[in-house]
Symmetry: C2
Subunit: 225 residues, 2 copies
């Protein structure tokens, strides 16, 4: 079976495949070790690709980092906008926001940790192309909450603080999953591990109860739309 003809076996694996392998391996490495801790040699080894490919395809380590941010934010922002502009009550939108966030994480499991590090760095690597995308995500919850308050469906909370408490809990949860898994595996957490879906549900309940408008003394229908 022509084992020797490696190039043929790999097909047109080249460019696209190599680039994706590098981006995936790099996202994990940046998440685990930070920008400076993730060496190009480590990233290339994990991606099973020659390290010179990083310069060839992305113009260097910085370019690879940037490509990951852009290719992850772009589709995420589209979905966030669609949700924000959907014609639904705010409480439904917030519930769906949590689901959407979890869905995005399922596609890019290490992105929350990588992005969290970026934010901790004061956004040092976010240029004029990335920052607007980041700010759009930043505004989604805020705008949904503001709308819910205007309509009287939610109690009068600060939209920015609400955003921070919700997205903070979500990012933290998903970004820190590797350590929890390690602690579970070593028997250092004397509780049972719950799947991510349990946390999603927990957050949806906390948000629903935490933001619900105070019930009037004895109003019958605050149920429907």
């Amino acid at each position: 079976m022509q084992e020797s003809r490696k190039k043929k076996v790999r097909g047109r694996q080249g460019s696209v495949f190599t680039k994706e392998a590098l981006m995936s391996a790099a996202a994990a490495a940046f998440a685990d070790r930070g920008f400076d801790g993730a060496t190009v040699e480590f990233i290339a080894r994990k991606a099973r690709v020659n390290k010179a490919m990083i310069s060839y395809h992305f113009g260097g380590k910085e370019g690879l980092y940037h490509a990951i941010l852009l290719s992850t934010f772009a589709p995420a922002v589209e979905r966030m906008k669609a949700l924000r502009d959907s014609d639904q009550p705010a409480d439904q939108q917030l519930k769906q926001f949590v689901d959407l966030f979890a869905g995005l994480v399922a596609r890019q499991p290490r992105f929350p940790a990588m992005m969290l590090r970026e934010v901790l760095s004061g956004g040092r690597h976010m240029d004029e192309e990335i920052l607007p995308l980041f700010l759009t995500v930043f505004s989604t919850v805020r705008e949904i909450v503001a709308k819910g308050i205007r309509s009287g469906q939610l109690r009068s909370v600060d939209p920015l603080l609400t955003h921070l408490s919700l997205i903070g809990a979500l990012v933290f949860y998903f970004a820190t999953e590797p350590l929890r898994d390690r602690l579970f595996a070593e028997g250092k957490l004397p509780v049972v591990k719950q799947p991510p879906a349990a946390f999603v549900k927990h957050m949806q309940e906390m948000v629903a109860r935490g933001l619900a408008a105070e019930l009037p003394k004895d109003a019958p229908g605050s149920t429907g739309d």
Copy 2:
């Protein structure tokens, strides 16, 4: 006034002063740039101390990092234990936990970010001395919530998920404050900046509402203990 006798002017500034300056500067640098990104030269410059002092006082960069974790966790753990063992209802304890957390951050503003990076790294730098302290902090909220559920004061939530949502929001908020401040300063956040106390209050309200036991149809006193 004997300006030339520097050693006299500095008094017994030596050891203690130098060590504290290094730990403070290093905590900020580790928070901002990560372990690998924070070079010993940068840390020493910020501390206005010679970089050789890092090896002399802490045995190297790693030792400095470890010393910061230990000296910050030790007193924090004591306070957490005292709170957990205090004889108060769970809802009061949770409220005070948030205050306690904010108080600790006021003393060590960059520790949340540094610790968050540590967790993102899978706890790579936490040895047998640090890990138990970390796990104690990890268990405080969990145990308070478990107690509150047993007593019927809180609804039946998962204590671990509750811990993660609360501490995740808190850590995220304080760790990411520098970026928000930058965005505010650049006019990129079209909202007014709130002081940290506002977020503390927000979290306390979210927790109180999110965890409160369902009210029985018309029970008069679910107030007292």
